[in-house]
Symmetry: C2
Subunit: 188 residues, 2 copies
């Protein structure tokens, strides 16, 4: 996968019979589940169609930062590592949707919950560079999930990753999450 692109990059994630990642588990945290699938296939770019026989297909796009302040962005950029590290043989795809109440709030109200109250960025920083991450936005594309977040890490970082998602799920921000699936993957 390419690193954060300057221009938005459309990414298609398919639960299918083929693909480089084996689906180890798919836990429905809340909302409607996805159909079971053995493997995850990932296509990048607008000219890459979904696999025709996929069990499910989710699309979303990288974009500009929506909440991150300049000081936070430079802290992240100085600590984070890119996708595709040879040792990062574990991954997670976490599709999430938020409620109409969340989306109806003004920018400063959402930012206050996101960071000043829930410390979303600060929590993420605690797990850099072990966990590499790329966020994709689906809401404006009419997709079923507002966000598809992709994480990569080494097998020994899995307990830390579990701790990170548990801390995030305990925040006030997460009371606005209406659907969440936690899909864990291994590259083999």
């Amino acid at each position: 996968m390419k690193p954060y692109a300057q221009s938005p990059l459309l990414v298609t994630f398919c639960g299918a019979d083929i693909g480089p990642w084996r689906i180890v588990s798919a836990t429905t945290v809340c909302g409607e589940p996805l159909s079971p699938a053995p493997r995850l296939w990932i296509g990048e770019g607008r000219d890459t169609p979904a696999l025709p026989d996929a069990r499910w297909s989710l699309r979303a796009t990288t974009s500009n930062a929506r909440y991150t302040a300049a000081s936070e962005l430079s802290a992240m950029q100085s600590k984070q590592e890119g996708l595709g590290r040879p040792g990062a043989t574990r991954a997670a795809l976490i599709p999430i949707s938020k409620s109409p109440t969340w989306w109806g709030m003004a920018q400063d109200a959402r930012r206050a919950i996101f960071e000043e109250t829930s410390h979303h960025i600060a929590i993420g920083l605690d797990y850099l560079p072990a966990v590499a991450r790329r966020l994709h936005h689906g809401r404006d594309l009419g997709e079923p999930f507002d966000f598809l977040t992709w994480f990569e890490y080494a097998p020994e970082a899995e307990p830390a990753f579990d701790e990170m998602v548990a801390r995030l799920r305990a925040t006030p921000e997460w009371t606005y999450v209406t659907r969440e699936i936690d899909i864990r993957l291994a590259r083999d």
Copy 2:
């Protein structure tokens, strides 16, 4: 046209031979022009395809507020009127793109230029309720324009509308605009 939708609404604007709006003028403010067309056709929803014989076709979606603070949102909501007023027989469609430098900036840096320095929201408030407005986002859709802003007003409000766009174009924010077309329309 429907008012601000809670869910994103995909809108397709076509320069064509048919459509409810006559194109009075199309001025290229900066960047590449659009092909000339006599009329503007507007389609709403993801199931509405572009006109097959359109001269050009631009798509973008309504979305959540990106910069507006709660106090500004309530000031706007208490003053603004909806689209489709019988007396609003003039309109403008202003497609705009911004530079990679703009999109690479953190949220607080963009907000500071947008409002604290350029007073984008405050300027817009000066022309409510005479000018009704709906903003559509195209960047994450891979469209040629980052924004398509649609404005409706009565013929007697045209000088005020001209003043508003002149004030916006004189702001520091506008130094990041790389392409802008000012399309004026009349309903007949």
